[in-house]
Point group: C2
């Protein structure tokens, strides 16, 4: 039973730091989101489209979480915004401490929107609060419409679902209608946006939702 | 440091059971493979195509690992072969004990090929030996060609890479050539098959490789 105890202690410690992050974000008017999904669902592409949308209009900062490499941070740095790369060295999720340790890099930048891209993993990051205002789960049509039922914790803990790669529906075995129904079965409160980073369909609606929440 | 110690103990205990599984498979002429990937890469579809190929020719059994639901086991059961569903209840990977606990279901079936489908997760299952002869990693073209660099542990610990959904290459931002190069950078010994479960291209080559190893 010692493993369970240790795990609970890790989560309690994490929740404590997450609470401090949340207080800090609130006091500084920073709207923070935590984007989670499987590898390859399109988190970084959605992030890039979102940065293009807010370019020059809203001060945005990014924390990139990866098991290995800074490939994603390199993609984001091209958008000329402050970005911190967290390399977890094999760890399968971000923890609140990684976020609090990164925040000093954004001092004096007057950040209004902080986007945290988690490690690509549809299981483990669901347990770790980072202090974000919203957990945003991305699911691409190529992954199949059954995934909300098979990996329910992530969909239960998120408040927004971004259904990505809708342009690929004609070529894959996926019904968006079924995907939406499965997602709402797991979490009836989910706010859902459908989008494609290739055609840019749906990006404005998603960014409009963000815009309304940025002070 | 206690967390690290506990983690090491968990892994040591797992390795011990995995060794017993491996000895058992060897003594009973069972060729066991452990299929790993992100959610939605097509593990279950590849499994179905593989079962169709060996239908009536080789006695196959399947262990299905899922965080939640028995949706995959239901798909496999239609192929009239023995299947055990392991539901991990939130745990992000299979452990060797789940496999050893499942084996009695196959008593008297004269199984020659045992296919273990792991939980959809490109990070955590890489650490857990199940006693398999080969770890088979599936990566679909829709996930992007950078994934071997970003999630290297899984590609380093696998001996075979199945590049799936090659029929979708015209519609996605993925170069199979780059994916292969990135995979071989991480693990030069990887045996690589390219396939599509929709067109069935490449399925015979993959099953031929399996066939050669089944006694």
């Amino acid at each position: 039973m010692s493993i369970v105890t240790i795990e609970r202690k890790v989560l309690e410690k994490n929740d404590e730091i997450a609470r401090k992050n949340r207080d800090l974000f609130r006091s500084q008017n920073i709207f923070a989101i935590n984007i989670v999904s499987s590898p390859g669902s399109g988190k970084t592409s959605i992030l890039e489209r979102t940065l293009e949308y807010f370019n020059g209009k809203v001060p945005v900062a990014v924390i990139e979480g990866d098991v290995h490499t800074d490939l994603d941070a390199q993609r984001i740095a091209k958008h000329n915004i402050p970005v911190v790369q967290v390399v977890t060295n094999g760890m399968c999720h971000l923890e609140a401490k990684f976020v609090s340790d990164s925040l000093s890099a954004f001092d004096g930048k007057n950040v209004r929107l902080l986007i945290i891209e988690n490690v690509g993993n549809l299981v483990c990051p669901s347990n770790y609060d980072l202090g974000e205002a919203h957990k945003i789960v991305v699911l691409s049509t190529t992954e199949g419409d059954d995934k909300p039922l098979k990996y329910p914790a992530m969909f239960r803990n998120a408040s927004v679902l971004l259904i990505n790669k809708i342009d690929l529906v004609p070529y894959v075995n996926c019904s968006i209608e079924t995907m939406v129904r499965n997602a709402l079965t797991v979490n009836p409160k989910l706010k859902i946006f459908k989008m494609s980073c290739t055609t840019k369909e749906g990006i404005a609606e998603w960014c409009g939702w963000l815009q309304e929440r940025i002070k």
